[in-house]
Every structure is written in structure tokens, then in C-alpha cells.
């Protein structure tokens, strides 16, 4: 019997509820319409398009079924792009996050000038990657670059930072870490500031060493922020495009050793105008990112401590 009033309320909303609903729908309308038109429908369109072959001739798209995906599996460039993207992500997120955490810990204490350091470390983040990469490309220049000049001062043979396929990925990873270090650090400092001071005081009284305090207080208590930093850095790094695109073109000997999935997507979709194949390439990235996100959420329970 007691369910009936509730059911009735659900069936016939009151004047007051109607009013609230109308306001709510009105307020979310621009965002939801935009989101559906700009993002949700495009997801299905991209999936749909990945079953078509689109040539440069007019708008005629040819249905090819799974052809694009079959080509994809046999395309060595797709495999190397997947490998490159994962290597880049692993290096940039791995090394970058550890460095950012160490810096955050160093700048969280009572240190003179910590505000200045924090400001300086964040600068690369505000510069557009297009310009940043041009600067690094100039530093890396084989014949005239500053790095090879400095090496020559110490009598070391010049390194072909960009066009040597064995080195190019390292050069790109360096730029990747350099550009994002400040961002992760700022987020981690904010996380560290949430940790109550008395935890450390209690640990000091108990005679815990600095290392012990770091691993038993700092890391577990900063873990929610650390998790957030890891998730966002992984997703950003997986989408790397600007640095690789600006650093080297398709004719560089290092292209196969550095091309990322997004760069490959861009080339296929817009340089070679095969949007069908480009869509299939980007599906690979979508699947990998969704898998990583699911994995991270699962592992989160094992090491992230929410208070």
C-alpha cells in the first residue's frame, strides 16, 4: 500500500516539480545539444566511417566492411605507431611523474624561494608546443645546434638527435617530460598540502626516518592526487601529436621510429585524405585508452587510499 503515493507522485509531477524540470532542462540544453552534436554522434560516425574507403575523388565513399581493419593489422606502420605511443607514454609518465613527485615534496616544505621555483617550473606548460618544439629542434640541430656544440667542447662526437632513429624517441621524450613536469608538480603540491602536519610530527617522535615518512605517510596520503595525475598524464601522453609532428616530417629517417598513433591518424585522414582508414587508426587509440582507463580503475583499489 505504501508504494502507491510514491508511484502516483512519479506519474503526475506537481507544479513545483514541473517548474524545476523545465529550469533544469533549459539550463543543460546548450551543453547537452552541443555534446550530442559535436561529440556523441561523431563517435558513431567515426566507427561507421571506419568501414568505408574514402578516396581523394569526390565524396564517393565505398563500403569495404572490415577491410580497413584487415589492412590495419597487416600495416607495420600501425604496429610501430602503437609501440611508439606506448613507449612515449611509459617514459614520459613514468619518469615525469617520479620527478614531479620528488620536486613537489622538495617544494612543499619550508624552503626559501619555493614560490619562485614553482613559477619557473610551470613556464614550459604555458608555451604552445608548436613553438616549444621549434626551440628544441634548434637546440638538437645536428650541425649548428647548441647541444652538439657543447658536446664538441668536451670532445664528444655530435649526436644526430632527430634523424637517428635510435635517438629520436629519446629526444622527443625529453621534450615531453620538460613540457609537462610543472603541471604534474603543481597538482601534486596541492595534494601534499592536504596532508595534516601532525602525521609527520607523530612519525618524527616515533623516530621514523625521512625515507620511511615518504613511503609510509606521503605516498599513501597523496595517492588520490597521484592517481589523478597518472590518469590524466597517461591519456594526454597517449594522444601525443604536436611534438612529433613539429619535430620531424614523414621524410625523416626517424619517422617510423617515432610516429605516434595520432600523427598516423592525421596523415591518413588529412594528408592522404583516406578518412576511412584514418578512422580505423583512431579506433585503435580509443580501444587502448578505454582499456587502460578500465585497468587503472581496477588497480586503483589496490593502492589508492581515500580518506
Amino acid at each position: 500500500m505504501s508504494q502507491f503515493p510514491a508511484a502516483e507522485r512519479k506519474a503526475r509531477p506537481t507544479q513545483r516539480q514541473w517548474n524545476e524540470w523545465r529550469w533544469a532542462w533549459g539550463l543543460i540544453a546548450p551543453t547537452m545539444i552541443g555534446l550530442i552534436v559535436l561529440n556523441i554522434i561523431p563517435i558513431f560516425q567515426t566507427v561507421y566511417m571506419s568501414f568505408f574507403k574514402s578516396g581523394a575523388f569526390g565524396k564517393g565513399n565505398l563500403y569495404v566492411g572490415l577491410e580497413n581493419y584487415r589492412t590495419l593489422l597487416a600495416d607495420t606502420q600501425v604496429w610501430s605507431a602503437t609501440r611508439n605511443t606506448l613507449v612515449y607514454t611509459l617514459c614520459v609518465v613514468g619518469i615525469g611523474t617520479v620527478l614531479a613527485l620528488l620536486l613537489a615534496v622538495a617544494l612543499n616544505g619550508k624552503l626559501r624561494g619555493k614560490g619562485v621555483y614553482r613559477t619557473l617550473y610551470f613556464i614550459p606548460m604555458v608555451a604552445t608546443p608548436a613553438a616549444v618544439t621549434l626551440i628544441w629542434k634548434w637546440l638538437y640541430n645536428y650541425r649548428f645546434g647548441l647541444f652538439n656544440h657543447l658536446l664538441s667542447v668536451f670532445g664528444i662526437a655530435p649526436v644526430n638527435w632527430i634523424d637517428d632513429p635510435n635517438v629520436a624517441m629519446i629526444s622527443i621524450v625529453i621534450v615531453g617530460i620538460w613540457s609537462t613536469l610543472g603541471y604534474s608538480m603543481v597538482l601534486l603540491i596541492a595534494g601534499l598540502q592536504e596532508i595534516p602536519r601532525d602525521y609527520y610530527e607523530a612519525a618524527q617522535i616515533d623516530g621514523a626516518s625521512a625515507q620511511k615518512q615518504f613511503f609510509h605517510i606521503t605516498v599513501p596520503l597523496v595517492s588520490p592526487t597521484l592517481f589523478f595525475v597518472l590518469v590524466t598524464s597517461v591519456i594526454t601522453a597517449m594522444q601525443v601529436f604536436d611534438i612529433v609532428y613539429m619535430m620531424l616530417g614523414v621524410t625523416s629517417p626517424s619517422y617510423d621510429a617515432t610516429v605516434s598513433l595520432v600523427y598516423l591518424f592525421y596523415n591518413n585522414s588529412f594528408k592522404y585524405s583516406n578518412k576511412g582508414y584514418g578512422s580505423a587508426v583512431i579506433m585503435v587509440l580509443l580501444v587502448i585508452i578505454l582499456l587502460i582507463t578500465a585497468l587503472q580503475n581496477r588497480m586503483q583499489k589496490k593502492w589508492v587510499h581515500y580518506q
Binding site: 517548474n19 524545476e20 529550469w23 533544469a24 532542462w25 539550463l27 543543460i28 546548450p30 551543453t31 547537452m32 552541443g34 555534446l35 559535436l38 561529440n39 561523431p42 563517435i43 567515426t46 566511417m49 622538495a106 624561494g113 621555483y117 614553482r118 617550473y121 610551470f122 613556464i123 606548460m125 604555458v126 604552445t128 608546443p129 608548436a130 613553438a131 616549444v132 621549434l134 626551440i135 628544441w136 634548434w138 640541430n141 649548428f144 664538441s152 610543472g182 603543481v186 597538482l187 596541492a190 595534494g191 592536504e194 589523478f228 594522444q239 601529436f241 604536436d242 609532428y245 613539429m246 616530417g249 595520432v262 592525421y266 585522414s269 588529412f270 583512431i282 587509440l285 580509443l286 585508452i289
Partner: protein, 281 residues
Amino acid sequence: MEKLSFSFRKHRAPILLHAVLILISVIMVFPFVWMVLTSLKTVTESTRMAPFSFLPESFQWVNYATVWKQNDFFQLYLNTFGMVALRVLCAVVFSAMAAYAFARLTFPGKRFLFGLVLFQMMVPTQVFVIPQYLMVDAMGMRNTLFALVFPGLVSAFGTFLLRQFFMGLPKELEESARLDGCNIGQTFVWVMLPLTHSGLAALAIFTVLFAFKDLMWPLVVNTDIGAATLSSALSKIGSSYSVDYPNLMAASVLAVVPMLLLYSVFQRQFIEGIATSGGKL
């Protein structure tokens, strides 16, 4: 002697730490210094290996004039600032509206629609690029300011971020406003919105930062150099000035200066904005 060594031990750690931190500061800032130094040299000077030139022998300000004229930087600034300003306006206004409804109102379809917001945030943006490009193309709007703003008309991220801010506000304020006779819209605009100013600022900063950096979308949709942004124009300049590094660096200076200026003025807001957004997500 005992006392001296003790005080040395006490100060050694900070001195070593400062040495490391200063070294890192140099690494973070030096590339920008080298960019400016190179931009003021002649091509011969910049490519001379012996004697290697560190500081410019005479300042070649003319490089800036050359680059400005050859690439119509005035137009590039106009396009970039226009895009950034409109994206910020759209993101902040529409996200605040939607975020308030999701945080404070009950309505049918709320869970499902918010699920769409969360879903969008998980999908890499490149998945949207081809369909968005085809839409702009079908509207005949390529090479326009509208095209640059198009993907940023709404922001799922902004909606999510601001919802967190609204959820953190006390319910009593809203109830007393409603008792005083405000309708939902008035409560939102006059009572709740002013209380989330730090959230709005964080979203604005985020949007500025990432709109400025965006490279692929302007590259794809505005292929005319006159409709390009600073970022996308740099990629074209980069290939046309292949060996003219002083001019290339002058162009890079012109491209990074607006954000560096903005950062030097609103430094605290930038860092706090990023920090609070991280804490809220």
C-alpha cells in the same frame, strides 16, 4: 670545531637542494633564453661554429619586423585571441548553467545525461575530429573564426569541474534565496554563481591554456594562412624558414609572448586554478 661541523651539517641539505633546484630552473628556462638570443642574431652568426657565438654581436631587431610582415602576425593574433576569447565565453557560460542543474536540481534523465558528460571525457578528442571537420565543411565555414571555436562551443570537462564546485556549496543559502522569492534562475545567477568564482576562474584559465596550445584542429580546418592561429601558422613557418633559425626563433618568440605575459601577470591564479581543478576532479 664541534659546533662548526654541526652547523655545516644542518645547512648542507638545503644548499645541495637549492643547487639541484637552481639547475632544474636553468633547464626549464634556458630554452626560452636561447630562443630570444638566436632571434637577435644574423643567420651567419647563428650557424657559425668557430668562434661559437653565445650572445648576439649586435641585436638584429629587424628579424622581428621581417617575420611580422612576411606572416601577417597581426592577423594571427586576431584569430588566436578571437578563438580563445569565444571558447572561454562559451565554456564558462554553458558549463556553469549545465553544472548547476546537474549539481542542484532533480529532473528526469539526469543520471543518463550526466553519464554522457563523463563518457565524452574518456574519449580521445581525435575521435571527433573527422566528423567535426565534415560538419564545418558542409556548412561552408572552413577558414573562419567560427570554425576555430566550433569544437569548443561546449565543454564536458567544464561541466564536470563546475558541478564539483556547486556541490561543495551549502544548501541553506539556496533555500533562503528561494524563500525570499527568487526563482531557480535568479538563485543560480545572483546567489550561487558568485560563490563559484574560483571555479569559473579555474575553468577560464584551463580553457585559455589549452585553446592556445591546440594544434591539430586549426591545422585541419583553417588551411589558409590568413585564418590560421599562432600554433598552426608556426608549423607552416617552420617548414618555410628551414635554415633561417633567427627568423624562426623570432616567430616563436612572437607566438609564446602573449601567454608568457598573461602568465607573468596572473601567475598565482594560473597555478591555483590548475591546483584546485586537480583537487576537484
